[in-house]
């Protein structure tokens, strides 16, 4: 069955508008998120996932949000996470301090409270650099 040019043209117009609307709101959303507009605090979902992976000692959560690494680095990471699982840490708090962005890079800074297996409380910061949906630097 052939659709009339009027119908195909109308559907095409709606689809082009929908695509443009989606892209515009994505772009505006990123800018709003980075600048803490519209009530947001600027926290990136990628940075939050990274922090969850770290605190829950789950390398699976981190794999997709880190730049591609060679097999030796990935094996080392798994060794490190197995060792840290044995140390039995308890997260006490996770606070997003804030961040900023420039070009394609954004910085997200957290304060982390932990209790080690020996009962010692630690309170330390972590600054993440996010680019193209990956955490490229953590310190």
């Amino acid at each position: 069955m052939r659709m009339s040019p009027l119908v195909t043209g109308s559907v095409g117009t709606v689809l082009v508008g929908a695509l443009l609307g989606f892209l515009i709101s994505s772009f505006v959303g990123v800018i709003a998120q980075d600048n803490g507009l519209l009530g947001g605090n600027g926290e990136s979902p990628v940075a939050r996932s990274y922090m969850m992976g770290l605190l829950q000692q789950d390398p699976g959560l981190l794999t997709n949000i880190r730049p591609t690494r060679d097999i030796a680095q990935r094996a080392l990471e798994l060794q490190g996470s197995a060792q840290s699982r044995n140390t039995n840490i308890t997260p006490l708090s996770l606070t997003y301090l804030g961040g900023g962005s420039m070009g394609g890079f954004s910085i997200h800074i957290y304060a982390v409270g932990l209790r080690s297996g020996s009962g010692v409380d630690q309170f330390f910061p972590l600054a993440l650099t996010v680019a193209r949906g990956k955490v490229i630097r953590s310190e």
Binding site: T13, A18, G21, F22, E43, G100, I107, A111, A127
Partner: protein, 146 residues
């Protein structure tokens, strides 16, 4: 009115109607795209851990960052120890020419403050960069730089 003039008038009317309809359909699509995005963009997940309340920027941290932003090495040398200056240098890499520093937030736990900043500037080759660093403050003294 001649038949040619009547035809021209009708054609113009149809074109206008068609243009308005096309714009309206485009607007409907645009709105649908925005709605779909707002439904699919979930933002950061829920934080399962407690968050500490934000506090004011400690004065000593403000002094340090003012010196950094003003490129005032003399004042900075008086405010930070040698180890802290080394740590600051590492935290600022690759920026060698600081253009601005911004306080983004601070929290306190048992008298220990973590005070976060972002710094913008240029590296050796003139490329723009942004980095983040944190001053640890305790008893009105900077006790560490991360």
């Amino acid at each position: 009115m001649s038949s040619a003039a009547s035809l021209a008038q009708r054609t113009t009317g149809v074109s206008e109607t068609r243009a308005v309809a096309t714009l309206a359909l485009f607007g409907v699509g645009l709105l649908a795209g925005i709605v779909v995005h707002s439904l699919t963009d979930r933002g950061p997940g829920e934080n399962p851990y407690p968050s500490l309340p934000k506090v004011e920027e400690p004065a000593i941290a403000r002094d340090v960052v003012t010196a950094i932003a003003a490129d005032d090495a003399t004042t900075l040398a008086k405010l930070l120890s040698q180890d802290q200056l080394n740590d600051l240098g590492t935290a600022l890499q690759p920026i060698t020419d600081v253009r601005g520093a911004k306080f983004v937030g601070a929290v306190e736990s048992e008298g220990r403050f973590l005070v976060a900043y972002t710094v913008t500037g240029k590296d050796d080759t003139g490329n723009d960069f942004i980095v983040g660093f944190v001053l640890r403050v305790s008893n009105d003294q900077v006790v560490g730089v991360n």
